[in-house]
Amino acid sequence: MSGFRTLLYKETLRFWKVSFQTVGAPVLTSVLYLMIFGHVLEGRLQPFDGVSYTGFLIPGLVMMSVLQNAFANSSSSLIQSKITGNIVFVLLPPISWFEFFSAYVVASVLRGVVVGTGVWLVSLGFASTGVAHPLWALAFVVLGAGLLATLGVIAGIWADKFDQLAAFQNFLIMPLTMLSGVFYSIHSLPPVWQKVSHLNPFFFMIDGFRFGIFGQSDASPWLSLAIVASALLALVAISLAMLRSGYKLRG
């Protein structure tokens, strides 16, 4: 497994070397959301009993950063390597498709967790929320990051140009995260939009994580867990099938 270990090390070192951009920038973005939305909406909305709006917003922002950065890591690393051609250095050695997949996904989960932790630490300056069920919280972070990292592998392999990857990010990932209840409780939505929200797997990742933090959520944590785990398994299957067939990587 040392091919896997080295690739994981390299992928981690890659984002760590540019951490200003890969960790610092997303933390700052989340803090800006927290300051602006917290300031504007604090006292006007109280989605959960006994939780301030800023308190409610924090886990949403943490999870949003985890998810977006997990996706960005695997997808951008792969497309950069493909476009510059240095992907050959990973394709020439005896690294199996499963090791390849695992290394990219684990490194991306790590980046998601690092950014999420950063957002969390900074948010302590705004409101302290405590953690009601740490295991639930951790499970949703890891599964959610894994899911987005896997989606990033799929997008990175599929896309031939930065343009296509940006489309994936702007037209799929971004709307799904923004409409997942990061900034509001879906119970505040009209019934139709509540139903639509239930089709969005991002909603369950964020809602499940909120359960871990507050012990209360819009949906049952078990339902969220089942949906997130199934979506993860489906994407892993697709991603592994692509890698095994050599799709776009080994013509």
Partner: protein
């Protein structure tokens, strides 16, 4: 077969199609261990496709390839361990320094403590002073050397160089060939593609020529050179106003004071010189052009039809 009898590379009926384009049309090729082998052909002949299939970067449509007896698909781990490829494109990873990159590349091959060999590579390729420099800051020639080092981190018995000297200055070319020759002398099999035919002629003991996805010539370098039918006798004379009639009939040409006469066997030379003298011309200088690989290449490519 004893281990040393196993061919370094064994290609059997390799075909590769890209849609309607037949990039490889049934290539059979065996390269023995320790050979210095050239794979030549015009652009689009299928050289890079063949190398990609050999390296597992592309999958054949049909046929098989073995490296040191290991199938590149079913036994890819062993096959890739036995193979070092220097890619044609000047690719690099901009995030890392030379040493980091070579350590990482070693790790991909499962080599944890490889620093001694990495140091040796750095010295041999004249990269030691750049070991801690980021890849982005290196010149093209330096990046090319790093590519060679990366291909060699796992000491592969078979080394493939895909146009390693394209756009490379004379000094680097010399360093590179000196190093590659040493590796060959140490028993490594070397496979080379190049457009510089004089390099192939000087270095390689055996040559395969590809055209439109097929091998059109496969022979020792000497054997290939023997196929060149035409030799040329050049005679520099004192003031020739016109080409003597006796030579014009043999396909000779006159250019200023130089007469070029094609011939096939060396015993014709005396007769040809006799005709020059009989025409009243005074010979100043005589030169017989040696057949070279470039001429052979052109003749074989033309002869191979379509």
């Amino acid at each position: 077969m004893s281990p040393s009898d196993v061919p370094a590379i064994e290609v059997r009926q390799a075909t590769k199609r890209f849609g309607s384009l037949q990039a490889l049309g049934g290539v059979d090729l065996e390269i023995r261990q320790g050979e210095f082998f050239a794979l030549l052909g015009p652009n689009g002949a299928g050289k890079t496709t063949l190398i990609s299939a050999l390296a597992g970067l592309q999958r054949l449509s049909s046929g098989s390839i073995r490296v040191m007896g290991h199938d590149v698909v079913s036994d890819y781990r062993a096959a890739r361990r036995a193979l070092g490829v220097v890619p044609q494109e000047l690719v690099f990873d901009p995030f890392f320094s030379v040493r980091e990159l070579l350590r990482i590349q070693s790790g991909y091959f499962g080599l944890r403590r490889n620093d001694d060999w990495v140091d040796e590579l750095l010295v041999s390729l004249d990269l030691a002073s750049k070991a801690d420099t980021n890849m982005r800051a290196l010149s093209g020639g330096m990046k090319r050397r790093v590519l060679v080092a990366q291909a060699l981190v796992h000491r592969p018995p078979v080394i493939v160089l895909d146009e390693p000297t394209a756009g490379v200055d004379v000094e680097l070319r010399q360093t590179l060939w000196q190093f590659i020759r040493r590796l060959n002398a140490d028993g490594h099999t070397i496979v080379l593609t190049t457009h510089y035919l004089e390099e192939a002629e000087e270095l390689c003991t055996r040559i395969a020529m590809l055209k439109a996805g097929r091998i059109v010539a496969l022979d020792s370098t000497a054997g290939i050179l023997r196929r060149v039918s035409q030799r040329v006798l050049r005679v520099r004379v004192e003031a020739a106003a016109a080409l003597p009639l006796a030579l014009a009939g043999l396909g000779a040409e006159l250019e200023a004071d130089l007469i070029r006469v094609p011939f096939e066997t060396h015993d014709q030379i005396e007769g040809l010189l006799g005709r020059v003298r009989e025409a009243g011309l005074r010979v100043q200088e005589v030169e017989i052009s040696r057949p070279d690989l470039e001429q052979a290449f052109i003749e074989i490519m033309q002869g191979a039809g379509a």
